[in-house]
Symmetry: C2
DNA sequence: CGATGATTATTAGCCGGCTAACGTGAATCA
DNA sequence: TGATTCACGTTAGCCGGCTAATAATCATCG
């Protein structure tokens, strides 16, 4: 029935989210990286030295989320803070050698995770899945 | 390309998750309920007086997650703790009048949220979405 | 009956999302 | 120039997920 289907969506979505979070954490922890740090790493691999505000905007996160994660990454030896040359308000987050070296490893880990999650799905199904997810996000984003 | 599609899945999934979390929080906050409390409420509407351990098992959560959420719900006047009649280790979580009265309101709110999220999707697409999500969860659940 | 082991809830503390409040530096304008 | 406003990063603290460690109680076995 319709109502049942609605319940199923919420249930399926949140349980899948927890499974994804758990699997991601396990995958990245093998390399001394926490799940939330991958997003910042990916952006810095592409363009090093971005500010917390830039990263937050690019990732759709709140700035404090980025600054705190960056602090943990600094402690973990993945990046370090540098003063911005022309604007003392800004902070540049710059990868360490270790942070840079992890690029290929973690990208492979992420691919493996995605492949494991989507195992058995055809290319069409994968594409439709992404489409459905983006529709949902768009629907929720509309301030109606 | 294949790699791009994999990236798209992770990106789409996590951004959709954040959008869902934000929308759920906004929807339930209107009624003085936090997003994480709905799951416990739903179970207690069905069977009142369950223990934290029972709820955790039924919801697939860790027990401390339930006990802390229950504490906040107690503070919010949604439930209260009662001693178990025959086993002093157990605690029964029992709805207050307010917790019971919210049943129809919150169920409607949840239906509205789901409908808003899935707007524009056909019944077939909704069913397939749930199927895809459950496949993912099953894939990740398999140890190996 | 008493000791030992299992079960349960709780506490403490980490991660990752958020908002609000704060302080500092840049920029603007009178 | 100097005051005010704006922009940015950080801190503090909430929520909701988790694990590890505690404390209390039950159950079992000697």
């Amino acid at each position: 029935m319709c109502v049942v289907q609605r319940d199923e969506f919420q249930t399926a979505f949140w349980s899948t989210k927890r499974a994804m979070a758990e699997a991601a954490e396990a995958a990245f922890n093998q390399h001394g990286v926490r799940a939330g740090q991958q997003f910042i790493l990916e952006r810095l691999w592409e363009t090093d030295g971005q500010t917390p505000g830039e990263l937050a905007k690019a990732l759709g996160l709140a700035t404090p989320t980025v600054t705190r994660t960056a602090t943990r990454m600094e402690t973990a030896g993945l990046l370090h803070r540098e003063a911005h040359p022309s604007d003392a308000r800004l902070v540049r987050l710059c990868l360490t050698d270790r942070g840079r070296r992890l690029e290929k490893t973690l990208e492979q880990e992420r691919r493996r995770l995605t492949e494991r999650a989507l195992r058995g799905l055809t290319d069409d199904e994968r594409e439709q899945l992404v489409q459905l997810l983006e529709t949902i996000r768009t629907n929720l984003g509309e301030r109606k």
